[in-house]
Assembly symmetry: C2
Homo-oligomer: 359 residues x 2
Amino acid sequence: MGTTIRDVAFEAGVSTATVSRVLAVYERETAERARPVAEKTRLRVMAAIQRLGYRVNYTARGLKTQSTMAVGVVFPELANDFFMDVAEGIERELDSQGYTMILASSLNSIEEEKKRIYMLADRMVDGMVVIPAGSRGEHLQGLADTGMPMVLVDRLVEGAALDAVTSDNEDGTFRLTRALLADGFRRIAFVGGEITLSAARERLSGYGRALAEAGINPDPSWICLGGMEVEDGYKRMKTLLKKGNPPEAMVAVNLMVHLGMERCLLDMKGNGSRGQESRLTEPVIAGFDESRYTPFLPACRYTASQDAVGMGSRAGRRIVDKIRQKKSGKEETTGERIIRLPVTIVNSTNGGKHGGKSL
Amino acid sequence: MGTTIRDVAFEAGVSTATVSRVLAVYERETAERARPVAEKTRLRVMAAIQRLGYRVNYTARGLKTQSTMAVGVVFPELANDFFMDVAEGIERELDSQGYTMILASSLNSIEEEKKRIYMLADRMVDGMVVIPAGSRGEHLQGLADTGMPMVLVDRLVEGAALDAVTSDNEDGTFRLTRALLADGFRRIAFVGGEITLSAARERLSGYGRALAEAGINPDPSWICLGGMEVEDGYKRMKTLLKKGNPPEAMVAVNLMVHLGMERCLLDMKGNGSRGQESRLTEPVIAGFDESRYTPFLPACRYTASQDAVGMGSRAGRRIVDKIRQKKSGKEETTGERIIRLPVTIVNSTNGGKHGGKSL
DNA sequence: CTGTTAGCGCCTTCAG
DNA sequence: CTGAAGGCGCTAACAG
């Protein structure tokens, strides 16, 4: 294969051990415990490395050091704006710390998720960041129990006490709903949400609290649970509009559901004539998640913007910390630690992160 | 660490070599050359593996076999619908073949791209799939020359003769423009496009050919090159609208630019009153790329839909083929092979892939 | 059919 | 400050 440390040693007229030491000086992680090397030999070795174009073999190093400087990241799906913003945040953070991200998708299946985390463990990743596919986390906890550093993002799970970074979901829908109330709406529905997912539950709860605070007792039919995808939003919206006295406003559990709802509205007012106003009273939507597309969603009035990239870098920093702690032998802090990042409510009539103003 | 092959060997009362052979039977890649093992011992070993919860260590195996069963994927950015659809396609294909995807972002920088491909090489990935960040590919070719299997996606580059899978870009804008012509538009602009990127060049070319066919000589100011991002579309559109006699229709080089253009239109007609028609003659847009958001873009009339997931799985299959060929010693076919997938023109007035009809 | 024996490329005591 | 030697976990001849 490529040139090895032996080639370099030969070229520089030293032993492989010396080359290894020279290398150690250049790694942030090992620089402190690096043994001294005479400046003269160091230079000689460096020159040889240059000349031969030597590059370390991480596989070999990993086998020896039991550390691959890679962290596994498992997300429910890739084609999702929110997840990918999180991924960007993670990758940048990891990269700046000398770690590599290995990204895998669990295809929204808890079974696949299990396979993926084990597969990553087989590849000896030093740690793992996961957005759980479901609500149960025994398999995650199980792997963590073997000593694998792990941090969750976005969703919390039952059956596991793991570190996590997520948003203040409850507060998000609380403020979203309150904004709608302030605008004079009274008949406000909540659409979408897999009630097994913690984030969805929290969002429903915030909605409920805002209504309670306003002394409004929501009609049970206003709460249209089920699903986190585009089709789910579409279906729920359709059902809502068929009602005799439909809600005037609604809170969407996430961007996908929100999209489906808007799609439904579009179809309702006769396809093709998108510019033309219909006779129907147009409901107003306040949705979780903000993206560059929200300014184009006609019914959208408010969005709760999560700092996805920020969540990612937070998670990245956290996992690297845990890995370092583990390496340095400290058995680390006690129990789980959950970081909740605040969300920003955006009046998207004026744009949003991509052009609007915050409240 | 975890249990090793030695533990299993001891537990089953056999040698490590035998365990290794039993393992080989279960890998698709090695099953054929796997040496026979007596059914009785095989069962005994399997039982031991179960009992101990043994899992192979890919790092160790990789060091020995010079193959990690991982392929590196380098994309210009992660938070991009088109790229992520491609990634999904790649991952599924790789996974079904027993390979793991390692995804990295080049942050739209050719320098970063270079770092990333070498870093992946250091990790001994068996092959690489990249969407180039720029127009030059010496560094890619350089790595390929060392024997690293490589396939490009979406964009071709100068300075390299590599396999690639891309779309029929020229045909896409050709048909897009022709559809606009058929609708009676004559003053048609082309917006966006980093002329250094092959895909952008090809798209411009298709536009030109359609106009030529119709005997139209485009005003030079209709061709607004520069940039592939949202802001670029915004700026170009603004400039266009300021002209005395602006075009009635435009072709957008990609979804990002398209978005920026729509954004600009939105801002033009006085913010806040999105439902209300303006006095201004509304231009019509035909854009490359289709997504679940295009139905919401008011000016969008046609889109050229690329089969992003399909491109991904094609690329995945291709890279696995190349890897296998390399492993089996065959020095492979001659020169570069470029696969061009057809695009579908969608009348997005009626929805698109996410609800519309193809032409 | 199975065991023994060498390493893959690197790091790391332990001597010098 | 540097070299020699052993081994991380696994596979692949080569014997038996």
